[in-house]
Amino acid sequence: MMTETPNKVLFTPERLAKSQEMIARYPEGKQKSALLPLLHLLQEQEGWTSPEGMEYVGQLLGIEPIEVFEVATFYTMYHIKPVGKHVIEYCRTGPCCLMGGEEVYAHLKQRLGIDTGQTTVDGQFTLKEVECLAACGMGPVFQVREKYYMNLTNERVDEIIDELSK
């Protein structure tokens, strides 16, 4: 399939250059391999994988929007609905729970005044529960964008929320 020129450029010039670099990493004809990396790039810029964004990524790769959407919805990292400024991805899996993960999570929900999947009224925080983040020896753990916050306690959670709220 021919790569169409997108009607509207959505990526910043830096990200557009980076996306072209990513697409070129794969063998000729295998450009669809860049889909997951491009969705990450989209989310990094927009905060979520918006429908227009997914259509745009599809155009960059010469694939149909549905092909992008079916992939984005399979994986847990892509936010297909708008989210708050900080998305807290909290590990709910066994080893973290052994270390008090459920108690700390209850505190976090209380502190933010929201439940799993919700966003605070001021749009600052969205709370998501995720499965194992591969940091089980340092549990409880949550992640905000690329950063891991480990060995969580109620006090530590309060400090982190204060810090992120600034």
């Binding site: 063998p27 889909l35 990396p37 994986y75 052994l98 270390m99 995720v130 020896g137």
Partner: protein
């Protein structure tokens, strides 16, 4: 002093940089491989080493390499599986974050041995910061001539691509990983054809775990026989163990295979024992998928001998009294842990992570989660325990990929060894659902 094959230099300040890694003897395996060895001799050394797949399956790596089809004019690929997501496992995360060049060096010599000119490291997307570390290391190696065109003047070309996943446990299964790497949903493929014949882009492909690939520089430098001299029997070499749960010193440890479980759990060099004031109740020795064992069976074999940290010893007794080394995710439970709650937690994980392709797994994982949930929350029926055993049995062996087995084993084993605890939840729902309530009936705590 125990042999350290993967972590000898991991605490050297600056080891993540090319220069420090090089000063510690890094990249000598690349020099040796491309200048003095042939791909065939490298494969031979890896075979002699007897190193087994460290992702969990334990399949001999050299044998996997020798299955790679080599049709004329068709590219071959090496893909490193860095989609570490098995609950309890965090060793690849540790290794890549702290010593990225070890993996890069392993990728170069392994790619050379397999005749691959483009190789991939598929890292779970959550570890984006580790991806940045790896990309930095790759750029350094390339600038020094160890990657790219004509490596060290040998005529061998290699490009390394770090690919992020999107968040899906199933992509740790090698054919799902390949689908994902092609930009698709991570649905496992039917086998055959095996990846060695038709893998990435329908070309011959080898998929190896991070830890497996990281052994290759040492094997090339020291020889396969030297590697095989470490460890015990067919469990050669060392293994990274991710230790978590109710122990004094959680973390990643490199052990020589064959170390008694008891030493690993209690000695200060490793886990440092159960946290103060508590007793050892149960162990998941190799990641959430492997059968859980009560304390006594974790430490001792049926004949009274000490159980060892090796593929053979951990599986001694089959599933009746044994378990598996798996990925080395060593999760320790003391007497405060509720086995029912943990089993429900694990089955929620597998339900969430099932790709939905095969009905026994798609339906069965959800069914098990629901039944376990109602037992845990005080609404269990008398027939529920047998129902769980039945559902688990009907998933096992009836799915395209091993996720079905991985979902069934934790449930079946928890019931096998802790049936009274499940029964107590059903018989005493009011008591069992009190905050912090845990079954305190008769069981062998250590």
């Amino acid at each position: 002093m125990a042999t350290k094959i993967l972590t000898e230099h991991i605490h050297v300040p600056g080891i993540e940089t090319f220069d420090v890694y090089r000063k510690q003897g890094g990249y000598t395996a690349v020099e040796k491989a491309v200048k003095t060895m042939t791909p065939e001799t490298i494969v031979e050394e890896v075979k002699k080493a007897g190193v087994r797949g460290r992702g969990g399956a334990g399949f001999p790596m050299g044998m996997k390499w020798s299955f790679l089809a080599k049709p004329e004019g068709v590219p071959r690929y090496l893909v490193c599986n860095a989609d570490e997501s098995e609950p309890g496992t965090f060793k690849d995360h540790y290794l890549m974050k702290n010593n990225p060049h070890l993996l890069i060096e392993g990728m170069i010599v392994s790619s050379f041995a397999l005749g691959a000119n483009t190789s991939f490291i598929y890292v779970r997307g959550e570890l984006m910061y580790v991806i940045n570390i790896l990309e930095q290391a790759i750029a350094e190696a390339k600038a020094k001539g160890f990657l790219g065109k004509n490596i060290l003047g040998s005529g061998y070309d290699l490009e390394l691509v770090v690919q992020p996943g999107g968040g899906a446990y199933i992509c740790g299964e090698e054919t799902a990983l390949l689908e994902s790497l092609e930009g698709k949903r991570g649905n496992p493929r039917n086998k055959p054809p095996f990846p060695a014949v038709k893998g990435l882009y329908q070309s011959p492909t080898v998929v190896n775990n991070v830890e497996s690939i990281a052994t290759t520089p040492w094997i090339i430098n020291n020889g396969g026989d030297a590697y095989a001299a470490v460890g015990i029997g067919r469990s050669t070499g060392t293994k990274l163990i991710s230790a978590s749960g109710h122990i004094n010193k959680p973390g990643v440890y490199e052990i020589e295979l064959g170390l008694p479980v008891e030493d690993f759990l209690y000695a200060d060099e490793w886990c440092g024992g159960i946290r103060p004031g508590h007793k050892f109740k149960a162990l998941v020795a190799g990641g959430s998928s492997v059968p859980i064992l009560p304390a006594n069976l974790a430490l001792t074999l049926a004949n009274g001998d000490k159980r060892l940290m090796s593929y053979e010893s951990l599986s001694e007794g089959g599933f009746q009294t044994g378990t598996m080394l798996g990925s080395g995710g060593f999760i320790v439970f003391d007497e405060t842990a509720c086995i029912v709650r943990n089993t429900w937690n694990f089955s929620r994980f597998y339900h969430h992570e099932s790709c939905g392709q095969c009905s026994p797994c798609r339906e069965g994982t959800g069914w098990m989660e629901k039944v376990l949930h109602r037992i845990e929350y005080g609404h269990g029926h008398q027939q529920d325990i047998d129902l769980l055993v039945d559902v688990a049995r009907k998933i096992e062996g009836n799915t395209i990929c091993p996720l079905g087995d991985a979902a069934a084993w934790p449930v079946a084993s928890a019931i096998r060894h802790f049936r009274d605890e499940f029964q107590w939840h059903i018989d005493h729902p009011t008591e069992a659902t009190q905050p912090g309530a845990v079954y305190r009936g008769e069981m062998a705590l250590v």
